[in-house]
Subunit: 256 residues, 8 copies
């Protein structure tokens, strides 16, 4: 709930337009909607944090995914459900016929035409990192960004990266997706001026410990300007990158 | 080394202005300087990544800190040495009389007057997180940002945070510094539209495991748009925040 | 075995009513019953610790579950078997036709009508935490408590929680069930006067490490009055909450 | 801020007694006080959570400890600063002459005469666990509880514990403080009806890993009704125990 | 190879009965046999360490298990293959018709009648620990020990254990098998004079971390005289217990 | 308390020689003594578990160590305090003039002449492991064993070990003390028939993680008959070894 | 790209044979080829690092494996794809009919006749380590080495190893493959002069933690000259061993 | 003991030149010497593994270091004691006046003039890694190698590394010493043909966990041909590198 809204409610109370009890209720209840007894949709999240609420698939029953999707779709043209496996999609596709499914990114979504803002580049170290990268890229696109993809340019053949240096340097924010030792984040961070969002992936084996090696590597990067998100969290990286990218075109909140 | 410079060197080779051997040498040697046999200063780092090289104090002898500081100061008005303990400062202060020492941030620095760009806010959960927050705040100031500080507003008394919500919402990027369970990053992330840089601190004890609890908490934040840096890494958070903040005022590299 | 019983046995020995050997036997054997060669049922557990013995499903064969269930049911109206998967239930349902199965809570139980004591509220951060919350809620109900459920009010949309603050403040003890970073436990702990039992869940991925992130977060909570149980341990949280809730209505043991 | 207070502020706004702006301000600012630029004291914490704010010593300068102590003491008769080492106490004792220091519990405090509520028992496995136990016991006393101490009754000589069983069974809530393998929590939990708060201590060596062994042991207790707090967190255990103990004598919040 | 044998070979060399080359060969080759190119059977292991070589199933193909079993059976009446799943057994049972399979212990074996030595008792905390306990018990029996079983006497109902104290005190060596927090090992260790072998099991969930909680608990036992083996390693516990039990009846090696 | 004693107390109650209340008291109080309010000495531990209670130094104040030592010495000729640093010894030596201090083993003790039983051998991998080995060796000697020492025979020069093979094979139980990778335990375990007690030490650095590498190595030993104790726990290894060694000379408890 | 090639490109620029733009392009683009949008093949990797690029199977779709294999095969007679499961092979074998599949090593490959260089020996502790050993052995053979195999000679029967000592001492580099405690690496390292590459395997259970025990053991080896690769990384060990083995026959790069 | 020596001893036994008992003794005792009761020097280690025994300082008393140093020096011109702190050196320097101390490498040594073999290059990421690099470099020099040093060329300014590429490519084996995220090992491994020995250092903080981040990074390197040693183990890296470097100049053992 933003300041403006608090002020409006209180002014309504002050003017007698609504009662004190109604004011208390308004302060709490407005921006959400209960779905069954299992979910409380936060319809104001876009206003407050810049994006609509997103459905994280794992741990939800198929029934729950469908119901929340429908409720969100009632009020938003763009709906995004992440980590939807192909098996789950097969079970629910008939009930959400207007939604599109991307099997690489494992995202189920609807989107409206919108103008895209240039500025985000997604880079991967290897081919195996692409599903996470596509989760990031598609999310960023749904959030209104045009995304450049540079895949399979890991440091074991570092000239593949250098070949794309001019492209990297055009970016406003770069998402580096890498498993194994995750060195690509440090190398990219040392070559560019823009912020770098590092996404460790669980690609690897043995002492990789399901992405821990890349995670620690990225957190300890000797390069400056690298922020890290959770292992395999392409979605989270895209959220952060989109917020950064849109800063340039946002008017100050104070200005309206 | 940016593309421009590679092109210039190659054009000089092409024109015969310099020999092939000189060209090879130029490609490699230009942007660095050896100090003793222990350091290679990267004088072009500012051009390439946006900041001059910074001295990380631990693991260096006092002699090495002084020498590198002097070399950097020869070519840059702004020099920053981080993690300089008061004991080390006592030993080297006479040799670097023009430098200023901030004992809370543990930073030794020189700075020129410069115009500061508004947009960065640093928030802490507790009083014990302030040294890390000050490392972040002072670093961001040395990098040309004006910094708002909001300290001791952790979630055990969450109204302290809400009281500062209007200030938080003015920020272009927020650095959240928190130890213990680090929940403040998630709460702030759920309340604002701008990017959040989360810095776990080692404040805590027992199963905190020197900051691991806050680190994992922040990496797993249920809020969107949170990027994490290393435990106690106020410096790194500031680098990232400054890069984000300056995106708004940067002309495109391609445009010149 | 309580003091009263030790005293009675010894008095019987002292009076000659039973022999010394019988006294020794009585001290050891009374409150238990062997089932096959694989289990020793502790029929006095209710007297000693407040609840009858409970069957923890994993690691037991279906045959063992059925046999122990039957023996417990012979002597107790309320029997509870936890972590019973739907597959196991399918295999044993015909042999325990009087028992009820809750597939969300994964509990198989019988219960008698009983008066329920108000006071326990179960809160979840997300929809994915509901199975653990239902294990807690149903267990608490079987132990004689009326349970209020407040689900999907995590900190990424903190106003959803605040909307339920009046409900939270009615509770005598609150069970907070949360995965990911588990910040909800700290936020609730900072807002209420009553004890909080925090249950980390394994909801999450990557550096969540199967619930470790939420566990550490909750153990390091900056809020006071938070006790933590094992990851996904809804049952254990309910035991503790029920003991706390019933303290108010218990007469002192010394008084009878 | 409790519901009552929100209602009063809103009624004042509704009646015109205060302006809308004043109402907004009142909602945010009332219950806190800034100290220097390093702390925001939460003077209403007692109303909201049952205890006044407590000073956690580590990470604070001596100057900060003194200033916060004084501010809290201005408004509360009972002030508690935890984890104050004897060295720190030596430096600040003259500035806080009215405060008492307990070197075993490492607590600096002031307290008013108050009636104490029976019900809390603190048990330790060994002599080395006593400092943590005393932190718990003294904190509970400052919070208005009478505390029974049963020390050095670990399971390597389990009859020492059984000898105290009648005392244990009188308790309304038991705090078990144990290092090494922490088995005492499970054994006590299996013998009593009341809630058990388990505090792992860092007493031990090698694969104890600074309390991790006892922590995991307690979280995995086979006994019911055991809640765990952080390693060495005697203070936190006392907060939780005191809240539980006082439930019996609290009138319902809804009743006034 | 024992000293006696080295001496015999060297005496044969000294007397000219065998050549130097034959002596070298004899020193190295005698006690082993190659099977295919994948195994080298150590036929002298019984002489050297007290038991014949044992087949550890996991990681071996069914073909390899059968071949090694047959080779061992050619020279030993007692053969033991551990960790043989029912699925594997189904595939190989026809090829080893003389072998017996125990599905609880997951052991495939042959054994000769032999006199059994009393002295080993196997204790479990719960019913779920029985498969590991049976691996231990059956192994110990195959190694010539009579085994007493005391199952499901964990510390949550400690009187179940005390009821069996006279039985426990008859043992020469006790194997304690426990999952969850593993407290039973400490409690038993505090009650008996004989050595205790503690076997942590992976029974549990969440912060049990697949047996780590019980393992650390047992390693940090406050009771004396407790030796620990790997998680779920019933076989290893039995080897150690059998060696200890047989010490009483062994003549000194030096004496023959 | 052994069975004999329980029977005697009950017979006394049965015969009227003592009252029921006295019987209850006798069952609980006899075998312990309170020291100050910080310790409860378990004077019957020797009867129950084979050794008198031992003082573990860390976490105890010097005052506490002295008082417990004196109380134990009043009733036992052999007293053992472990982990007593030279600094602590300096402070308390005058108050315990009859005690002997071993600075390598860090043990303070008194002992009576007693006949020693052969059978225990202590082996170390390196010179740095000797303090832990001496803690084991001296403890075993105080418990009535003659101890053979074989030091610095680690596997990097494995012939040093083979040279002592005849000595190793005379042992009834071997304590292997090793840091770094702890491979010596497996190698010794593969060469001897008797039980092996493995003590990992914290000798090493880096990924040794304070003894974790050796601990895991020993727990995963491919050799049979190896039991492990805590890192650096020479004392615990000696307790176990002594119990094993004395089994040969113990009359059956049932026989008297 | 080697120095020679940089020089040639620059000379071409200098001579006007190619333009500056062509020179820049040549510097970057030459040694790689894009496959679809998911891979960038590094065709010069052999020149730069000694081997052609290798396909790591996991994380790639079957389609991607086939396409990259075909592209590599177009330019290299020897192609190697590692970690190809039998299931994947079944799906792709018809599309790559010229390739050979080794089910033990899980490698799909093509190879040309080539002369093999003696010098590499692969040793395993157990039979279960053979798949990793075969991955190493076959990789080394494809890289032009003749490989000696010595399997199942672990330290629990150390004479099996000593029997092969003459064979071990012929090696120029030894790959030791071992799970469980991995002690074999230290023992071999203490017996030979040549470099040892240690490969921990995930063979084991419980506190083995999927190979961590062997990994830490090998990293902490008390023997000199041991280098470690990732858990189960037979391929990586072979790369390193082959590079070492070929050093003897390489002419100096400077010499041509 | 090499094969030659075993053969000689056995021939002496066969010929009657020595008795069987003398033969047994010779097989065991020859290559070692006891020092006090705390060390067994392995004088044949050079013959067997290529280097004389080395003294690892930590865990040894100053007296032990001096005695072992003297004994080794009696038989070897080159003696090396590692991890000798300046404080220890101050205490022992007068007793070993002929030894040289290097305070950066923390090595105390004696060396004879010897011809050095070119081929080893030591590279560091930062200035703080130099002490570990110098331990490696000096060790390698004492083992007969000429060492090239390339320091402070980490990936945050990757052109510093590329500038030295011609030097890197001259090496026969490269030791890469790096802390923080250790990415330098992967980058160097991707650029050169020769074997790379990676040494993680403990330089870093927070989630570096004392070198764990760099260690995992290096073990998971996407580049081929990288072997890893323990954290900060410059000595071990040098041993391995020297063995590799000397392979070229070794005659086959079989040839003499």
């Amino acid at each position: 709930m933003n300041d403006q809204q608090i002020r409006q409610i209180m002014e309504a109370v002050a003017s007698g337009a609504i009662s004190v009890s109604e004011g208390i209720k308004a302060l709490g209840e407005f921006p959400q909607e209960s779905v069954g007894n299992f979910a409380v949709i936060d319809h104001q999240r876009e206003i407050r944090t810049g994006f609509p609420e997103v459905i994280f698939g794992p741990g939800k029953t198929e029934e729950q995914i469908v119901e929340i999707f429908e409720r969100l779709h009632d009020k938003n043209p763009n709906v995004l459900a992440s980590r939807i496996s192909p098996e789950v999609y097969e079970h629910i596709r008939e009930r959400l016929p207007y939604a599109t499914y991307d099997p690489t990114a494992r995202i189920l979504y609807t989107k409206e035409k919108q103008e895209l803002l240039e500025g985000i580049t997604v880079v991967t170290a290897g081919t195996g990192d692409i599903p996470v990268a596509e989760e990031a890229a598609l999310t960023a696109e749904l959030m209104g960004n045009r995304v450049e993809r540079i895949y399979d340019v890991g440091v074991s053949g570092i000239h593949r990266l250098f070949n794309r240096l001019p492209d990297l340097r055009k970016a406003k924010v770069i998402i580096v997706v890498a498993g194994m030792e995750g060195a690509l984040a440090s190398v990219v961070g040392g070559l560019v001026q823009c912020p770098v969002i590092a996404v460790p992936t669980s690609v690897g084996y043995g002492s990789n410990f399901h992405g821990l090696a890349a995670l620690l590597s990225m957190l300890n990067s000797c390069a400056n300007g690298v922020g890290v998100v959770n292992i395999d969290n392409g979605y989270g990286a895209a959220c952060l990158a989109s917020k950064i990218n849109h800063l340039r075109v946002q008017k100050d909140l104070q200005d309206d």
